[in-house]
Symmetry: C2
Subunit: 148 residues, 2 copies
């Protein structure tokens, strides 16, 4: 139906967490180093989960989401953009412009791992977390997936 | 008074142009090279005039404006932020974080001068426009202000 669907912000964050389940895998915008302007922080955030964009995709209305977040959102709530409610189907989603990806990847965050606090570029964060796993003691060792 | 003041977007752009008078001195976001996401374009735009930020300043609510735009806005419409309506006085305005300024300055635009169309980094645009003045024919020559 064409009814406009809206919830207050506090409620929204509750049900979105249920849909995306990304609290423990995505990075909070609070980890960004540098006291960025509000609209800039928003521009590097997922319009579904509000975390820093992870594997971002762009809708035809030019809004950005983590790839998994928008797919889960569409499955749960329908084929519209969460930011502007224009039609949005998975096959419309594209990778954002390279010039934007360069900016996103160059952002520096404070590593949220306990006792780390290192400053890491977003593009290096995946490799950085591997270094944590290698440094773990044997009792909570998780084998690294080597692929294949 | 505490009344919330709001106008439809079309009307807003009309009266804002009257207040700022910046149509012929600021750069349109349409000149940006690279098909940037909508929220990113917004994050490098003035929240008063919608042009690309010129000499940006940041309010305590972390919104961004051209320095002249927000000063003219406050004088005409009162000491509140045009984006979120929180209190905003000229002495609260600060330069945005350096990390943001680096991103802003690195953006590339298509020079809007007739018969130019060169691609110019925003930080080089001032120097670039001087090169246009030097190249002008004598009948419309404007002496460059050497200062002093
Ligand atoms: Zn998330
Ligand atoms: Zn997300
Ligand atoms: Zn949208
Ligand atoms: Zn770390
Ligand atoms: Zn302007
Ligand atoms: Zn402005
Ligand atoms: Zn504000
Ligand atoms: Zn030019």
């Amino acid at each position: 139906n064409g009814k406009v669907w809206a919830k207050p912000h506090a409620q929204r964050s509750l049900w979105v967490k249920k849909i995306t389940g990304c609290k423990n895998i995505h990075l909070s915008t609070n980890l960004l180093l540098g006291d960025y302007p509000a609209d800039f922080v928003r521009s590097v955030s997922c319009q579904v989960c509000d975390h820093l964009l992870a594997d971002p995709v762009q809708s035809s209305c030019k809004h950005l989401f983590c790839r998994l977040c928008i797919l889960k959102y569409i499955r749960a709530l329908g084929t519209h953009c969460p930011a502007c409610r224009q039609p949005c189907i998975p096959s419309d989603l594209v990778t954002p412009a390279k010039a934007f990806m360069v900016i996103l990847h160059s952002l520096v965050i404070r590593c949220p791992a306990q006792d780390c606090d290192e400053h890491v570029r977003l593009e290096d964060y995946g490799a950085h977390t591997l270094s944590h796993q290698e440094g773990q003691s044997n009792d909570n060792y998780l084998p690294v997936n080597k692929g294949g």
